[in-house]
């Protein structure tokens, strides 16, 4: 049985990855799952300088989901290079450096710094608010997204994944724009904009007023977006959004994802990555599927 997937140059031992922001830099979960069994770890989003993040509450539970506004708390790119890369390199898992900035210059500086480091891929988060555009996310305008990707593409030969926001008019436009600009792969979806108001205090629950929705509630949104992007671009897709078990993972793969990412589910079940991998193998056995590639985008060929 072959579970290896080639994401346009980034080869994963298996299609199970973990989503940025949900797994830290692997240290905490390394005590409960064997990181060697995870295809790739997209680390907590990094910025040039350390960030302390947003005022609490940073999280609110909603029906079948959670809203979060953590605010990119992270130790900064230098600490990532000095402390976290050496730790993660002790494992077979591929390292995906999720990078964030508030203007194109920030991203460029991060790419230049990390280009010399032992990481396997960049995941460029274009859901960040672009300060030069009054806080509109880079990823809401295909031209701005393309400009950002073009700028960083020039600075590295390393693998680049662009993480797409679902909070857009037409995600396939953004996908096509970043493909043309040089992205090797795309990952979707990032969180869906949302908020929750307390009817007793009459105030929003999150300290930052609104946040991003993740968890099972968003899966149908993510599945459609993966399905549509698979038709629109030819670069591989990492699909994510509410994956809780192997059935969800298979659904994403059949919709068009070459790999999947598990995020929110880790919180309730620290062993979920292992269970999903075992479940995928079980499904392939039961259905006589020898190579995971047979499943990728299968729904489009039936």
């Amino acid at each position: 049985m072959n579970l290896k997937v080639n994401l346009n140059g980034l080869v994963l031992d298996n299609p199970v990855t973990v989503a940025s922001g949900t797994f830290g830099f692997g240290r905490e979960y390394s005590e409960y799952v064997d990181l060697n069994d995870i295809g790739a770890i997209s680390v907590k989003g990094i910025t040039l300088k350390a960030r302390v993040g947003n005022k609490e509450p940073r999280i609110a539970e909603t029906n079948m989901g959670i809203l979060n506004s953590v605010g990119l708390q992270n130790p900064g790119v230098e600490a990532f290079i000095e402390r976290e890369i050496p730790f993660l390199r002790g494992y077979k898992s591929k390292i995906i450096a999720n990078v964030n900035g508030s203007n194109i210059g920030d991203y460029e500086k991060m790419i230049i710094k990390l280009d010399e480091e032992d990481i396997d891929s960049f995941e460029v988060n274009i859901s960040c608010p672009n300060v030069k555009q009054g806080g509109m996310a880079f990823g809401t305008d295909p031209r701005v997204a393309a400009q950002l990707v073009k700028s960083v593409r020039k600075l590295t030969k390393k693998h680049i994944i662009v993480k797409l926001s679902p909070n857009v008019k037409d995600i396939t436009e953004i996908a096509k724009a970043v493909e043309e600009a040089g992205a090797d792969a795309i990952s979707l979806i990032n969180t869906v904009a949302g908020m929750k108001i307390d009817i007793n205090t009459r105030k929003p629950i999150l300290g930052n007023i609104s946040g991003g929705l993740s968890g099972p509630a968003v899966k149908p949104i993510a599945i459609k977006m993966v399905y549509d992007c698979y038709k629109a671009v030819s670069i591989p897709i990492i699909g994510m959004g509410g994956i809780e078990n192997y059935k969800d993972a298979i659904e994403f793969i059949i919709a068009g994802a070459s790999a999947i990412s598990i995020g929110t589910a880790n919180f309730t079940n620290p062993y979920v990555t292992k269970e999903v991998l075992e479940g995928i193998k079980g499904y392939m056995n039961q259905n006589n599927i020898k190579d995971i590639k047979e499943l990728i985008g299968l729904t489009h060929r039936i």
Binding site: G21, E31, Y32, E56, E61, N68, Q73, T268
Partner: protein
């Protein structure tokens, strides 16, 4: 830490709001101040509920829980032999390593915040039989677990916001009505050479306890507070439960805490 399916041994209703869920323990060791993440059967509520360890031994763990009706009410309905998915023990627990046999300790709890202090009292008492434990318990209206605290404290002072109709008189327990414990707490700090304060309860109680300590001169008292915050992963990976305490620093309540040195937080 691990995730286990534990059988319910007993579920005791203390009053309309408070229940004590006792589950089996498979010889897991843990510390006072640590907590468990309890999974609800209601699939629409995806986060585990973080609940302090109230007391434990090799055979069972007790959780003292306030029924806030949001999801938690499911736990109030659990019966003997039902099962619960429990992740833990999580968090750092109370640090009692510096205690000596002649230390004087205040346990200062408000409402459901008294829960972790019972296990703490038991641990301190079993380490130092003769240690002086002064327990202050504040409730709104209906007290609970006073007898249990009396068994492991040198003295127990109960403060009730509202007068209760049926007064339960327990020997050597004082009851004060219509007053917060803070005045008496401040008096103790000034007069009694307190070495350590361990506190758990509403944020306002903790902040006030630290403020009173800071404003009391010529004392060497250390205060440890147990915080709570909405949390997700419970192990320090997601950073959802981080409290920003100044422009450069956040404290992760589930991993660096929930117990912190009070003067570093407030």
């Amino acid at each position: 830490m691990n995730v286990k399916i534990l059988k319910v041994i007993k579920n005791i209703k203390h009053n309309d709001e408070i229940f004590e869920l006792i589950v089996e323990n498979h010889n897991q060791s843990m510390k006072a101040g640590q907590f468990y993440g309890l999974k609800l059967n209601d699939k629409s509520k995806i986060l585990r509920r973080p609940i302090s360890i109230n007391k434990y031994d090799e055979k069972q763990i007790s959780f003292l829980i306030r029924n806030t009706k949001e999801g938690i009410s499911e736990l109030a309905d659990l019966k003997e032999n039902d099962e619960i998915n429990a992740m833990g023990p999580l968090g750092n627990g109370f640090d009692t390593s510096e205690l000596k046999s002649n230390s004087t300790v205040i346990l200062y709890g408000g409402g459901i915040g008294i829960a972790p202090l019972l296990q703490l009292a038991k641990e301190i008492k079993s380490k130092f039989e003769a240690i002086n434990i002064i327990t202050l318990l504040g409730y709104r209206e209906n007290p609970y677990q006073i007898k249990e605290f009396k068994e492991v404290s040198s003295s127990v002072d109960v403060f009730l916001e509202l007068e209760i109709k049926e007064k339960i008189e327990i020997a050597n327990v004082s009851y004060t009505y219509g007053e917060y414990p803070s005045n008496y707490y401040g008096k103790l700090l000034k007069e009694k050479n307190i070495d350590y304060v361990y506190s758990c309860g509403p944020d306002a109680l903790l902040e006030n306890a630290v403020e009173i300590l800071k404003n009391t001169s010529d004392i060497n008292t250390k205060i440890y507070v147990s915080l709570e915050e909405r949390m997700a992963c419970g192990i320090g990976a997601c950073l959802c439960c981080t409290k920003v305490i100044n422009e450069n620093q956040g404290i992760c309540v589930c991993k660096d805490g929930p117990v912190f040195n009070g003067v570093e937080v407030y």
